[in-house]
Symmetry: C2
Subunit: 125 residues, 2 copies
DNA sequence: CATTATAGTTAGCATAAGCTAACTTGTCAA
DNA sequence: TTGACAAGTTAGCTTATGCTAACTATAATG
């Protein structure tokens, strides 16, 4: 099974929380996303089964190498889309919200094109 | 119930097919989208219940005013996103594919910002 | 008129992903 | 040691949305 939008959101959340604290638990993920413990529990189970996260003996969640790559990929899309939108004059909050929904659906090609655009012409973001 | 990505795709398809032919049937929608007859049947039922489409005695599908507005809104997003991406150097096919997935998640604010951008600076699309 | 093809519907299955209720487990303090 | 709280899991519900199989209804054809 390949993960989808939902799985990517969990992955991204773990990635973001891992940058603030080295001890991320399911409860933290649920709080951040506004989801219940059972929802998080199942989602983490699927991510584990897919080899994207692992938990240590204390229940702390870590991304595997693949999981980290995948999370980073999504996070980069998020950042780039936010940048693109704010550069077009969208307020930061709206840009972030849109980016959050869209990040899952942006192809590599289009992502690269946007990236090249900023590298070429610079930006104010 | 408010329609979602799936419902929007049906609506947009009906809109597109209606521009080519004035007699759009469920079977046409299914063929265009690659979905089965029962899937289309149910989806149309929901769209009818939401007052977005109607069928005449012969089973031909028409968008209501609200349905047309909604379809147009999505279609505009599709066109604008395609334009944005091709302007960034993405090939037309990829741009269209990305636009098709993303069109459902673009806020009014960001849509307007992109539109203003093209009005201001022109484009080659 | 009977057969066949086309279109649509109904019934029911599957998966994804949210939820609540209730259980388990582990830690910590009285 | 016991009682309580916190974290996680299990069971089972719900909705959305795809599917197939099988039925119905209509229209066209021999």
């Amino acid at each position: 099974m390949t993960i989808r939008e939902s799985g990517e959101m969990y992955l991204e959340t773990i990635y973001i929380l891992s940058q603030k604290s080295s001890s991320v638990r399911g409860i933290d993920v649920g709080e951040y996303m506004g989801f219940s413990k059972p929802s998080v529990s199942r989602a983490l189970g699927l991510l584990k089964k897919d080899g994207l996260v692992v938990t240590d003996g204390q229940g702390f969640i870590k991304l595997t190498e693949t999981g980290e790559e995948r999370a980073q990929r999504i996070y980069e899309r998020h950042q780039l889309l936010s940048l693109l939108f704010t550069n077009l004059g969208v307020d930061a909050e709206t840009a972030a919200e849109d980016a959050c929904r869209i990040e899952h659906y942006l192809s590599d090609k289009t992502f690269d094109a946007i990236k090249r655009h900023f590298e070429q012409y610079g930006h104010r973001g």
